[in-house]
């Protein structure tokens, strides 16, 4: 059990205190961050749509989310007659708890400037600004996101009503499909960094040219970004709660605090997923350090332990903004477009690129080394052959479907 500890040591009062402190800090920061995220999203979208947005509660409307939360708390908690009561009550927690647990493996700070490893002293113990660093590290995120599917799915089913059921069936199909693409692009990062531990992945990305986004050749990042958006059920992939078709999707029958839990989980997932993207591809709390040829840039914020947190927050904000931007800009996909994009484009591309990366890596370890140009040329040839086959197969399938009378 102690293997889930940070830095192996025996269980003493100090370690228990450190862990408790970290848990409390992450819990509070998570909730406050989610509150600010809701405000941020509403404010940015209203700016993009030429509105003012929330501006009554608190300065710049900052306390609007708090007001909404208080309102939700005091609303009547409705449970539909036809619902499966036990599952209906359990579902919001299944959505909420995994959203929180993802925080535990994200490196949130620490001093990484000048090649330090980000550890700091606390009650006489060296530790990292991260709740846990289990050996399976980043796979825990995948496991938790697959548990989160249950929340959405069971919420829709247990409501005992049509639209939530449709929403939840859509959601589970979508989340399972995109988990494959997510895992494959993740595998590329693991291949390059050679470790599963999130702290190890961050340590390996010590300068901009070694960031995974560049080291893995950009493609896994693009696939991961799209798949993560679909996994979050955020626009343009929010078919789960397509208001024009499904009332409000899987959470239609929920009210009061149970609805608030789904709402919180959704926004918290946006933050944690952005954190995961920053950790995996952009060096997490590492400073933006250039080390290309004669160009050396090594910014030092002189904030000690907190400098990593500042870098992390800056990078995180970029992605949070991108998510809000996507929501304000893109129209929703149709269901068949969503499935086609996932299965026929993202998964094959991610798989092909993973194989090319693996070939390049094997070539680097051999003596004499393989010629990278040749490897890439063979990779391109394989890609063209595979893509042609896939396009032809899709064409045949489409013609067959049209001949038999299209279903949709």
């Amino acid at each position: 059990m102690l293997s889930l500890d940070l830095l192996p040591h025996s269980l003493t009062l100090a370690t228990v205190l450190i862990i408790l402190l970290k848990v409390v800090v992450i819990f509070v920061l998570g909730l406050v961050g989610t509150m600010l995220m809701v405000w941020f999203e509403r404010k940015v979208i209203s700016g993009m749509q030429n509105r003012i947005g929330p501006n009554k509660a608190g300065p710049w409307g900052l306390l609007q989310t708090l007001a909404d939360g208080v309102k939700l708390f005091f609303k009547e908690d409705l449970i539909p007659d036809k619902s499966d009561r036990f599952v209906f009550k359990m579902a919001p927690f299944l959505a909420f708890v995994p959203a929180f647990l993802v925080w535990s493996v994200i490196p949130l700070g620490g001093d990484f400037s000048g090649g330090r490893d980000g550890s700091f002293s606390m009650f006489g113990h060296r530790t990292w600004m991260q709740l846990a660093d289990p050996p399976i590290g980043i796979l825990l995120v995948l496991a938790l996101s697959s548990i989160a599917v249950y929340g959405v799915m069971l919420a829709g089913w247990s409501s005992g009503s049509k639209y939530p059921l449709l929403g939840s069936v859509r959601a589970s199909a979508q989340m399972i499909s995109y988990e494959a693409a997510l895992g494959l692009s993740l595998a590329a990062v693991i291949l390059v960094s050679g470790t599963l531990s999130t702290h190890g992945i961050v340590l390996g990305q010590s300068s901009v040219s070694r960031w995974s986004v560049i080291a893995t050749g950009l493609l896994p990042f693009i696939v991961f970004m799209i798949a993560a958006t679909a996994e979050l059920n955020r626009p343009p992939f929010d078919l789960v709660e397509a208001e024009s078709e499904l009332v409000s999707g899987f959470n239609t029958e929920y009210s009061s605090i149970r609805f608030a839990l789904f709402y919180l989980a959704e926004f918290m997932n946006t933050i944690t997923m952005s954190g995961i993207i920053v950790t995996l591809f952009f060096g997490g709390p590492q400073p933006v350090r250039f080390d290309i040829g004669s160009l050396h840039v090594d910014p030092n914020l002189h904030l000690g332990v907190l400098s990593g947190t500042v870098w992390f927050l800056l990078k995180l904000l970029v992605f949070l903004y991108i998510y809000v931007w996507l929501r304000a800009t893109l129209p929703r996909l149709r269901y068949d477009q969503l499935m086609n994009l996932g299965w026929k484009l993202l998964i094959p591309v991610a798989l092909w690129w993973f194989i090319v990366l693996a070939a390049l890596r094997i070539g680097d370890e051999r003596t004499p080394r393989w010629n990278k140009g040749v490897v890439l040329a063979i990779g391109a040839a394989v890609f063209i052959a595979g893509a042609t086959l896939l396009v032809v197969a899709n064409g045949v399938a489409r013609r067959n479907r049209e001949r038999e009378g299209a279903m949709f």
């Binding site: 293997s3 548990i147 799915m153």
Partner: protein, 189 residues
Amino acid sequence: MDILVFVCAAAMILCGALGVVTLRHPVHAALSLVLTLFGVAVLFVAQNAHFLAVAQVIVYAGAIVVLFLFVIMLLGVDRVEDLHAEPFKVQRPLAIVSGVALAGLLIAAVVASQHTNVAARGAGLPGVNPVRNDLHDGNIVALSKDLFSGHVLAFELTSVLLVIAVVATVLLARRSRGIDAAPTDGQAT
């Protein structure tokens, strides 16, 4: 500590297994299965087999049971089944016999394993060296070396099996044009 973890996990597994068998509602039975799978994952973690634990959660709880639930919801069989009508009369006696045989086999395996390699205990996998915590790789290296060297043939055969299953499913799901097309078109129009 070890015994506490084991007792809790074993209770989880047994409750889940009993739930799968006794609960009338298919969705509840599937959820009990998730409880069992989580208990097994906890036991894996207690044995330092972290990778197996997370694979258990991702693959079984995250994909397979979700697929079960998906089918249950999509086909609308999510109501209580009447189990009193028996299609095959020999089913129940046969089930009892095979259940007892399986239990006997498992007990025999446990008894036999007490006399074999004790050094491999806590290693998660038989034949793999006991995992050191400072290695910090969740025995992925040991597992993959074993899988891709000694058992590579079995591994590849398994993947072929999966491909065959996929092809067969597609073949079964495809409506054969000569027989089915006409009535389906009639219904559609």
